[in-house]
Symmetry: C2
């Protein structure tokens, strides 16, 4: 029996997300990101297509490495302006019943006590449909926006993240017992104080003495996503993540990352199937190969390779603007500190140039799209799942909303025919839909923070 | 011509808000606060009644002064559990077009850069219907939850608040010029970088070097509410607040506070009419006096004076549980540090006892309700506006949703007949509806942070 393929829409509360420049396409509606109606319609469509979830990226700084200013990012709408991702979720939840919501939050700048309350509130309001994509950021511009001269070092951020996780687990899993809420009108007792307790956290970064402000939500801890693929990032994922988000154009590289995370998870006492992997992907679909290619050529006229380079410059920490087109790019610093973009450095070869990188930006991004008929794309997706062990895809948008409609109208029926895509949502919370259990399993690191009572 | 009376629903994302114990009433639905549908229906009703807004209170700690633990608060659902107030707004906005949303946020624990983004996001999504109730907190339990041993001193918190305001004004008013967003598809230019700039804030508490992440929202700065009535709080309000929230049972006390804030505002170059005042109120309405009294007696059977005392203990910083019923309460510390509850200390007299205080808790709160027919209550409200200079009321709930229905079905028509209540919403943003202008006026302290360009 073939494995089920999961699909998330990968998006962001902004104009240009991954495939840059496509906002200039006459049919693209991403400029409507400030409008509630845009997101309501989006969520309704995704649920009609039985998408597992919408996965919302975020950054809390701007891309100001390229040319040492944010000017190019502003001109090209390269993830700026960018609104808060969390605040579109309650509205989308109001018009859906099954769609999951993965929200990226950079824990470095979020007060953990209040962040935990936000997540619990969302989990309550959505009936247990919340996931958190745990990130620690990579932008000095975000650090400067939040009171620091520069961000902490890569591995130090993960140490902080480990402490942060232990703190929020205590609040989510340990502060309120199941059954603490009695809601006994006759006795006039809402909650049983003997089943609620303050947590006491004394760490290197955080000190908290308080009970969680929220009663237990359906999932308690949100479904945990993580996307780091550095060695330290994979170690973190093996410990905490239920879903990992992987990027890569080469199967063996993706397989290696996924296998490594699962192997480390098993070493920590978890099961390999406790970690689902989602691969980033971009699709351009047509009813015929010709139609797909024509659509791609149409889209490509609006894509911006320069905007893609602005994005890559910030990710890699390299100011490409200061190099001539064929001048070798000094990647020393980047190779040392940014290890989650190995794919790019490998594919560009040891001697990068701006020209080589620009040539890689096929559709306004270093992520090349899959172009084809529903049948051929379905084949490719199934092959990727079989060959790499990924469970599904985070599909970035090209021209919205038609790219979503194409997936729903063209691809989903084919995946269903092949028996690799659900024909109805499962009951229950997001975690139950993905894993079959409502709460984190006992083998997860969070379980130790549950109260013995 | 009589002045228009504004009405806000005063509520909180929790069970017991002001009138404690009433959640035990068989018809009360406040226990549904975790449900999105509860808030959607609530918002629809309020808009049907032409309420100006829903004003959402918040605390980020628990009431653990009474008996030196939070046990009584948990039993009585005295503002615990309490969910994040901001996250119900997008959903309520999705089902309304004119209702305003006042959200309480304690600035002490919110990273200003990310807070500013949240507010701008909400202002975008709601089409300019957001207000912020600026608070600095009063709970040591909140400080301990957020990494501090205890909270800063009262006046120091306002100094911090002044700095915080200058910082968020820079982001909201100064970082992006009008016209910065070009959205020029043909030229491929989304924003004009010459009209966007980083702000540079170097203060005692905050350092920020960053551009605001959001393009200008309809109101830029949200409508500003403030509720402090201490000398320092009034000074802060005179400088920043567009709406002040006042509590008090005695007209002369309320008048004095409102007059003082407006006089100080005028000294700062603002107009008296730039500050609208809202009085806290609780209504129990019946079609006849008899029906109203019976409803009050019915409600009163479910009210909890002890829960009210738990709330007051936290507000006053006095552990009433350690006093016998008729033992004089030592109010020394409280009188010194808590000046925004003068009304209570006055009405209880110089020699407080628990018994005296409990007797004041008429309906589960130190806020006594107005009880009567629509005609008599309308008279009283109009008198209050005329005698004290307040512009409207923040109406706390008794038994929801029927208390809202009573206002809409019984009181609003009478207020409309008297010509003191709108018969349709005005066009425009929340600020335009209240004041006739979309942006803060040039006389407001925020205006200095606008770019000269």
């Amino acid at each position: 029996m073939p494995r089920e393929i999961h699909l998330n829409a990968f998006d962001m509360n902004c104009v240009g997300h991954i495939q840059h420049g496509l906002w200039t396409h006459p049919r693209d509606q991403s400029c409507r990101f400030n409008e509630l109606k845009y997101w309501l319609n989006y969520a309704r469509r995704l649920e009609a297509g039985l998408f597992d979830g919408i996965f919302l990226a975020d950054v809390v700084g701007v891309y100001d490495v390229y040319g040492r200013s944010a000017d190019a990012a502003l001109r090209g709408a390269v993830q700026v302006p960018v609104n808060d991702p969390m605040l579109i979720v309650p509205a989308m939840a109001a018009v859906t019943a099954n769609l999951g919501f993965g929200v990226t939050c950079n824990l470095v700048y979020e007060q953990p006590f209040l962040f935990a309350r936000r997540m619990s509130t969302l989990d309550h309001l959505t009936g247990g449909r919340i996931a958190w994509n745990i990130v620690t950021g990579y932008l000095d511009s975000a650090a400067r926006a939040n009171g620091l001269a520069e961000q902490a070092r890569h591995d130090d951020r993960y140490d902080l993240a480990d402490e942060y996780m232990s703190l929020v687990y205590k609040l989510w899993e340990g502060s309120w017992d199941d059954g603490a809420v009695l809601q006994d009108r006759a006795a006039g007792v809402y909650a049983d104080p003997s089943k609620v307790r303050a947590i006491h956290h004394r760490g290197a970064q955080y000190q908290v003495d308080a009970m969680h402000l929220c009663a237990p939500s359906p999932q308690r801890t949100p479904v945990l996503y993580q996307a780091g693929s550095s060695a330290r990032g994979r170690r973190f994922a093996a410990s905490h993540a239920e879903c990992v988000f992987v990027n890569g154009q080469q199967k063996e590289g993706v397989r290696r990352i996924v296998d490594d995370i699962r192997a480390q998870a098993v070493q920590l006492g978890r099961r390999a199937c406790d970690v689902k992997a989602f691969l980033g992907g971009t699709l351009v679909l047509g009813r015929t190969e010709k139609e797909a290619k024509e659509k791609f050529e149409d889209y490509r006229r609006y894509a911006s390779s320069e905007a893609a380079l602005v994005h890559a410059a910030a990710s890699l920490g390299i100011d490409f603007a200061k190099y001539d087109l064929d001048e070798p790019v000094d990647t020393g610093k980047s190779q040392a500190i940014v290890s989650n973009i190995e794919a790019v450095t490998r594919s560009a070869g040891p001697q990068w140039t701006r020209r080589k990188l620009l040539e890689q930006m096929v559709l306004g991004s270093r992520q090349a799209p899959l172009i084809g008929t529903p049948a051929s794309v379905a084949d490719t997706l199934i092959d990727w799942c079989e060959d790499t062990g990924v469970d599904g895809f985070n599909l970035s948008r090209t021209v919205v909303p038609e790219c979503i409609d194409d997936v729903i109208d063209l691809l989903v029926p084919v995946l269903q025919e092949r028996g690799v895509y659900k024909t109805a949502y499962r009951q229950g919370t997001y975690r139950e839909k993905l894993f079959g259990h409502a709460r984190l399993p006992p083998s997860h690191v969070a379980a130790q923070y549950r109260s013995a009572s």
